[in-house]
Symmetry: C2
């Protein structure tokens, strides 16, 4: 049972519950999936403005890309919650001995990087869908412009919401690339010195 | 079977399909329900900043109101699609005789008013949830601020998306109150004249 196999009623109840997951990251992914789906729908409507065979193909390709991105965002609804659950599990690891402390810290850092990858994936997918949306806005059925605009609104909110989650989690990462980089720098200097 | 008893996977597929419903209006309602649910979750979290009994009660009341608004928005997902289906059915009514034309036109106008009421309800519910969100932002657990901000993002997108639907449908209403009003005005003038 994943979050997206739940009924909408049950998923909304899960969001309302005080359990930490699903939270804002999964909600952002779902909003992005909704937005991309609307763009895919508009692209698939009859009476488009695509007048040439080339434009018909462009519109079709954009619609298919939006549908694929919607499926990707749908999967990220689950992945974001899973990643956050693993972060919380890592925090609960024992921390009595120095070895335990080091293992726990490494575990938290690894889990945190996954917890950043999920909303980062949401940001990328939303940006990619919005890019396709420009083609849909130009060539799609003009009478569906409100559906298209709602799609853009949802993608924008999803992207900003996902960014908030990236930023919050980045705050818990101890200098992710920096430490490796500075250790390398020190090694390189030592080698040369 | 309503839209919200579908699984999330199936509902997203329904949004992606070229069928006109569900469309942007239902998507806006769902985004609003998601946003309100996040606010309700944050209000229900332990470790809030409510220090007095009064504040604990205020936070609890705001959370309950957000949960109720989320349920209202959940119902509007279905209602928006139903209303739009009725508009399309009204357009398909016969229009051969003058009587048929008049009945069809009246049917379209009545259906259109319902199709405006649904997104208008979404706008009102989102605005009310955002208002409660101010209490949650002040008194709720500060560590959930990203969940709260995602909630606000979704409510904003839902409100603007619903407004687009109100505006589009208003364009199809023939002077909604105006004609009644001007007929009344004429009658009143006639009575006086």
């Amino acid at each position: 049972m994943t979050l997206t196999t739940l009924s909408v009623v049950d998923l909304l109840a899960a969001f309302r519950s005080p359990a930490p997951t699903p939270g804002g990251g999964s909600a952002a992914a779902l909003a992005g999936a909704l937005g991309s789906s609307l763009l895919a729908m508009v692209a698939a409507l009859p009476k488009s403005r695509a007048a040439t065979v080339e434009d018909v193909e462009r519109l079709k390709a954009s619609g298919q890309r939006c549908a694929a991105l919607s499926a990707e965002l749908e999967a990220l609804v689950e992945r974001d919650s899973e990643a956050y659950d693993l972060v919380m599990a890592a925090y609960k690891r024992p921390k009595t001995t120095d070895e335990e402390k080091a293992a726990r810290s490494a575990g938290i850092q690894a889990a945190m990087r996954d917890a950043i990858a999920a909303p980062l994936g949401v940001m990328r997918a939303c940006a990619a869908a919005a890019e396709q949306g420009v083609v849909v806005a130009t060539l799609g059925n003009p009478s569906a412009s409100s559906d298209l605009q709602v799609g853009f609104e949802l993608l924008g909110a999803a992207l900003r919401g996902a960014r908030l989650n990236v930023e919050v989690n980045l705050g818990s990462v101890k200098d992710p690339e920096g430490q490796t980089l500075s250790a390398e720098t020190r090694r390189n200097r030592g080698g040369r010195g």
